[in-house]
């Protein structure tokens, strides 16, 4: 059981949870993720670690309510617990002094890019942060991002805040303006990461994306998270999650991520109809039969 000690709603349907996980906090490096399972009958889902505090022994994750599990996590409050949290998984981001780097966060991807942006800044890079959302109220972590960047641009699809447009519009502006860019990190929805790759391909700007395929064990055992990179199968959990954007086959990723769409819809409908009851049962500990588990810490 991993105790939630703090929650904050960053935007409607987007929540930040601080979880007690001392071992993970101690070893977390920027770019890594955890796999969580909320309750006994729950699925395993990967979530990027937004931040960690080794001294306090905590990690934070930012979760947007889209499917059953993420909706469930969004209902949890301080004092509740998550049954399983395992990590830190995946290779850490490559951190070095590259020069000028652009860190792009689309939607909840801003949270996922945060710790890498912070590490890049600390390594002496000139960090240009571009964060985007559909509208003003969905912009998250603006101040936090400002704190770890030299320039910050906010983009909204409807122009209700910052500049009107998507994050890649601003990236294209930077490139067109003749600025020297040594590295681009793009984290967000697949179409956004693909657009970033397209924007930098001809310029030959090294571009990294953090991929989010369906994953189960997260340790290289199942192969469910395989992605096509430069025509080769790679496992996002052990070979990634970050890859060279120019070599990623985004179509295959999009397709594979849609594989369980019908089942996800069904699970979500069921969740909405039994939501209160399920949460009650999780809180009461009734579902925690812990068939073979040994109790992590």
């Amino acid at each position: 059981m991993f105790k939630i000690i703090e929650t904050r709603e960053l935007a409607p349907g987007i929540k930040r949870l601080v979880i007690e996980a001392s071992r993970i906090a101690r070893r977390h490096q920027a770019g890594q993720f955890v796999i969580i399972r909320v309750y006994e009958q729950g699925e395993r889902i990967p979530l990027t670690i937004e931040n960690s505090d080794a001294q306090r022994g905590t990690i934070s994750i930012v979760v947007q309510a889209v499917g059953k599990t993420t909706r469930l996590v969004n209902v949890l409050e301080a004092g509740d617990a998550i049954l399983d949290v395992v990590g830190p998984l995946g290779k850490p981001s490559e951190i070095a002094k590259f020069g000028t780097v652009v860190v792009m966060g689309g939607g909840v991807g801003t949270a996922e890019a945060f710790s890498t942006a912070a590490a890049l800044k600390k390594a002496g890079n000139h960090v240009i942060a571009i964060i985007g959302a559909r509208s003003r109220q969905l912009v998250i972590l603006e101040e936090e991002m400002r704190g770890v960047s030299d320039e910050l641009y906010v983009m909204t699809d409807d122009g209700s805040y910052g500049e009107k447009g998507v994050v890649t519009d601003k990236l294209r502006d930077c490139i067109a303006g003749g600025r020297r860019i040594d590295l681009v990190l793009a984290v967000g929805p697949i179409p956004m990461m693909k657009a970033a790759a397209d924007a930098t391909r001809n310029e030959g700007i090294r571009t990294i994306v953090s991929l989010n395929p369906i994953m189960i064990d997260g340790t290289g055992m199942c192969g469910g998270c395989r992605v096509l990179v430069n025509g080769e199968s790679k496992f996002a959990c052990v070979d990634g999650p970050e890859f060279d954007a120019h070599q990623v086959n985004f179509e295959v990723l999009t397709q594979r991520n849609s594989m369980y769409r019908d089942e996800e819809k069904k699970a979500m409908e069921e969740f909405e109809s039994e939501r209160e009851e399920l949460i009650e049962r999780i809180r009461s500990g009734e579902m925690r039969e812990c068939v073979l588990a040994g109790g992590g810490k």
Partner: protein, 482 residues
Amino acid sequence: MSEAVPISPNPLPLRERMKIARHAMPEQPSEERKANFSEVNLGYSEELARQEALRCLDCEKKTCMTHCPVGVKVGEFVRLIAAGDFAGAATKIREDNGLPGITGRVCPQEDHCEGFCVLKKKGESLGIGYLERFVADYEQKMGLRHLSKAAPTGRKVAIVGSGPAGLSAANDLIQKGHQVRVFEALHELGGVLVYGIPEFRLPKHIIREQIDYLRGMGVEFETDVVVGKTISIDELMEEEGYDAVFVATGAGLPQFMKIPGEHLMGVYSANEFLTRINLMRAYEFPRYDQPIFDLRGKDAAVIGGGNTALDSIRSALRLGARKAYVIYRRSEAEMPARAEEVKHAKQEGIEFQMLTAPVEFLPDNKGWLRAMRCVRMELGQPDASGRRRPVPIPGSEFELPVAVAVLAIGTSANPIIQSTTPGLATDKRGYIAADEQSQRTSRKGVFAGGDIVTGSATVILAMGAGRRAAKSIHEYLTTGVW
């Protein structure tokens, strides 16, 4: 442990014993079981077990025991069954095997004990696996008796992985008085026994009982720890005070064929397919949240000829697959699967397409698997493994319509521990290099065994490695000599 107790001799003369036919295992009828995940084999009754035990010839040479990777004293426990002392038989097995309920069900007995049974020369071997299972289940029903433990040594051993190698080592080390903690990456204990082997062959409650037994003996367990990620081996030894570490993390990364279409929706590795079903209980979706392809009314194929392949395709059948094929590039004689699983699969209506291999996975217009293009093979000259190499027959290609294809063609080394433990030597395939007898690695105090050393093998071979490691860890901890 215990000294040999006098056992009443088998009352039957040798000639009479040889006249008794091997007692068949009662099983769930194939028509019924192919629609459920309940166990296929139902187990011997006390009467059947005694009758079967009476067939044992009490040979001098005990080839059954010498061919057991963990050295179970087969003759002795079988004689105890024949004499009606089932609890005594259980204790006898436990001296060498901490997981009899598991090995009695999944061990390829025909390659070990039963394969060298003298009865086999004239007919059918003694049902040693069935008897072991009977004893384990009897013991469970009656309440397990814990073996005695040596006085605490004050030494701490970390075991990485709760699969057969890890559990087997834990069983031996705890008896020697060491403090033992087992770390597991997944949320449930048991490793491949849980995520790999389906309920119909090895029910989860059996694994739970074996683990509860170890817990009762004092073994500690911690889930959700990926050693190498959550904590390193160096940290375990330097900061958490472990005197020795046994790495038993299993084989890992599933292999793909590198043929077109492997990314189509509907193409699975066996590890993923089985993990969804076994660990995540996807066959109970939506009661459990993790989904799996809805196979009802669709056709499925598995590529491979081992136990994992058969577990996958028999699971597909139970998920409602209309047709279920085993596609194997060699002939049935070369199939590495247990004989009993092949028999069961055939009874259930699985179609065996031998000497066949896929060359491409074909999509529909939405990216789902529609069919496999396959080629027929013939056996040519022997290859490095000594088996005749399958060679494609030109012009023999054909399409096999399937919605799901499961690749069960083996695994390669998981690199997590190797890449995070400085100075830990590996072989050229990336597996951890360990001495075959002592299971010692290149790092002082670090031992390794099971699939992470040998590559994919069997439960019992991993358990054998666990026992050797435990013996060698005990020696190291008591002498201090590396």
